[in-house]
Point group: C2
Chain length 454, copies 2
């Protein structure tokens, strides 16, 4: 009874029914499965069985499954059915979900499918497609309950009952003036207990939060989360209500944006919203990565200059070069850890700009402890490789110094970024690594020069 | 009228009213501000003004502001008020929010404050604290509408109206048997339109999704997002209903977990849920980082062995060592980009295990293009540093080979991780960098040996 549902078991049952060609059982079985689960099960079947199961679904369930299916599966399912049938299913979906399928799953068939859809539904979808990708407009749902200022509680309940089966949100009702401008919201909680004759204007919360359709979906998501909303109204430049963005769409945005931060941290520039791993053209992938790579390459080539400065020392003790990758690697790793810790702490508002000194002291301490621990290991490792005590001491001291230095860089760079108005999440691990590389080398070779008397 | 609200303007108004000591205006002003906004504004004031504004709030608004305030501010606000007043505010909060404040904001005063709270509310909070941090139990809200199997639609609406002002969720009502076991849900949408005499058992959706209180909050969040729920019931081992986790708590979890992925990618082990940047003991920070650092250090020390193998070559052409940091740095950066791309694609289900060959071909292509582009730059850069054509060609070819190799490693490691059941999000940038370091070096020096005839 308690979730997580046993998807494997359900899959076995579906496969068994397919094998015995027991269509009645299969039909009953799939009718009971939640659409996202059914989408997952269908994905695991081969193309022919996918089609067999999908064709058993009622239109509304087929629409839900298509909505939940991965891009690959959605493409296959749509590809295998007549265009009219695909259009029927798209009509069944909310406009925002149909728009998402037409732009993300089968962009090359967008026009063909829109042409096959009923004119009214197609117009609704085209309307949404006018807005930029990843904007509130793309998530717009126009099935909300609209009230007039003159309505009573009884009127409001009547209106709600008329469209309740189809409304995207029922916990808020929206009061519009004669020009359809949003002037307030009424909560269903109030309607349920207030007297039927009471004018809704008396229960209305005026000047509700709202966004414009061009607002970025991440900002919409942050607002919904911040103010604990079930839906956020979207209004045009004149304040006319266009629809709502509901919390379930917002959750999908949050899941998606969370993974985007990992991309940024890996130094990959942001792509088009509509693209996915396989649908992104190779050239676009390259473009998104080469800018950072080139920048890091040029920045990293300073290391060659640093080493050239110490050419004589390296010629005298070639063994010095053995530990270069290890030392700068450790510096990069420590720096990446610190910067990820800081990015998270700043995103959660645990650290603010005015905390800069506290952060510095803390990371200095952590850096010293980590540095001492690694220095002990480094001494042993270096001595094992090249039995020369002065060199092993040089390596150990360098590890310590580089650890501390990388910790400071990793802590200060994201804070400096925020100071000048750059999103700290844009500070990537490779950027910190590259910054630490050249300076770490200089630290190492200076210590070597001093200790080895070169 | 449309958001984002102008927080700066509101802050100015609050400051102006504070300056002129216009308490009436100030009280009216703050009463109109949404709690999360007010919390932000209060945070920007100095300690004395914080207290002045906070003391003007009604109990319920004070509770909401405390709930939304950052840990630092919450600590200061609670620290500056008598323990009885703090207890009153905590009583006003939902148990899960009070539990969060007592464990995250003022853990050292948990017992003192619980003792000062009304026994019943304190017991509710203690109940929640029995569950592990970051579990469904910690998010539990017991203010749901419970129905009996024998109820009619009219009974259900009556029950709903009685607690609607206080219920955590109203769009679902929960049907319990005589042992309080959850047997089904009824949606408010159905109740609003069905005939009053109809038994709710006829509208009930049986065997609803539910979780146990020990379920990890991330799994709860993923279920709520997957099935588009407004609330998810929590039941004990016998199926008795304990409460619900609501979607607004789930959104906060998603925001938090999104930033956790960045930590993992930075190779920092996961900490205690209750800890924040400044409240984490330094020793705990070190522990969480040293394991990865040590592992990477040991893995990275292979690079010293590789270089030792090529000692003669490095002695003959010291200039070879100049480009070591640049080459392995570029390999690390390319690898980090690829792995972050794959982690995201796998998290969004755009790439599955069976796509391994398609991924390989794609990343190979991207690697070749990136490699060729960087090789051109590398040739120029190397020749500028050391005017020796054969060396510059060696560096250029190595950059290309390392780029391609790093791309393959960065694509295959997260897929291999998933294959053996490890979360791909645990594959960190430093891990890939370290893997690419030693192999990249070997590639470079082998190419040098061949081309330079060493």
């Amino acid at each position: 009874m308690t979730a997580p549902l046993d998807l494997d078991l359900l899959e076995q049952q579906v496969r068994a029914a397919l094998e015995t060609e027991d269509i009645t059982t299969l039909r009953e079985l799939v009718a009971r499965i939640y659409p996202p689960d059914l989408a997952d099960i269908i994905e695991r079947l081969d193309d022919e069985d996918q089609q067999r199961v999908f064709s058993l679904l009622e239109l509304s369930q087929a629409a839900d499954v298509l909505d939940e299916a991965s891009i690959d599966t959605a493409r296959e399912l749509i590809g295998q059915m007549p265009v009219e049938q695909a259009a029927d299913i798209l009509e069944e979906l909310d406009s925002d979900d149909a728009a998402a399928i037409l732009t993300e799953d089968v962009p090359e068939r967008q026009n063909e499918l829109l042409a096959a859809m009923a004119p009214e539904e197609a117009a609704d979808v085209r309307e949404l497609l006018r807005y930029p990708p990843q904007s509130a407009g793309r998530l717009l749902n126009d099935r909300f309950v609209a009230l007039r200022e003159s309505d009573t509680v009884a009127d409001a309940m009547e209106r709600l009952r008329n469209i309740v089966h189809d409304a995207a949100v029922i916990v808020y009702l929206y009061v519009l003036d004669q020009h359809d401008r949003l002037i307030g919201t009424v909560s269903l909680r109030r309607l349920l207990v207030d007297s039927p004759n009471r004018p809704i204007i008396e229960l209305m919360r005026p000047s509700p939060l709202a966004v414009q359709p061009e607002t970025d979906q991440e900002e919409v998501a942050r607002m919904v989360a911040r103010y604990d909303l079930a839906a956020l109204p979207v209004v045009d430049g004149e304040g006319r209500m266009l629809g709502v963005v509901t919390v379930d769409d917002v959750m999908d945005v949050l899941l998606e944006e969370g993974t985007e931060d990992v991309l940024k941290f890996g130094a990959v520039a942001q792509g088009q919203a509509d693209e996915t791993y396989f649908t992104t053209p190779i050239v676009a992938s390259v473009r998104r990565r080469i800018v950072w790579l080139l920048f890091l390459f040029v920045a990293g080539s300073i290391t060659a200059n640093v080493l050239r400065l110490f050419e004589t020392e390296l010629e005298q003790v070639v063994a010095l070069s053995f530990f270069i990758p290890l030392l700068i690697g450790t510096g990069g790793n420590t720096g990446a850890q610190t910067v990820s810790t800081l990015i998270r702490a700043m995103a959660l508002n645990e650290v603010r700009l005015r905390d800069v000194w506290r952060v510095l002291v803390r990371e200095l301490l952590v850096g010293i402890i980590l540095g001492v621990l690694l220095a002990i290991i480094a001494f042993g490792r270096a001595f094992l490789e090249v039995p020369m005590a002065s060199l092993a001491i040089t390596v150990a001291l360098s590890v310590m110094a580089i650890c501390i230095w990388a910790n400071i860089i990793g802590a200060m760079v994201p804070m400096a970024a925020r100071r000048v108005g750059i999103d700290p999440a844009l500070i990537s691990a490779p950027l910190i690594t590259t910054l630490v590389d050249a300076s770490g080398l200089a630290i190492y070779l200076l210590i070597a020069k001093l200790l080895l008397g070169l």
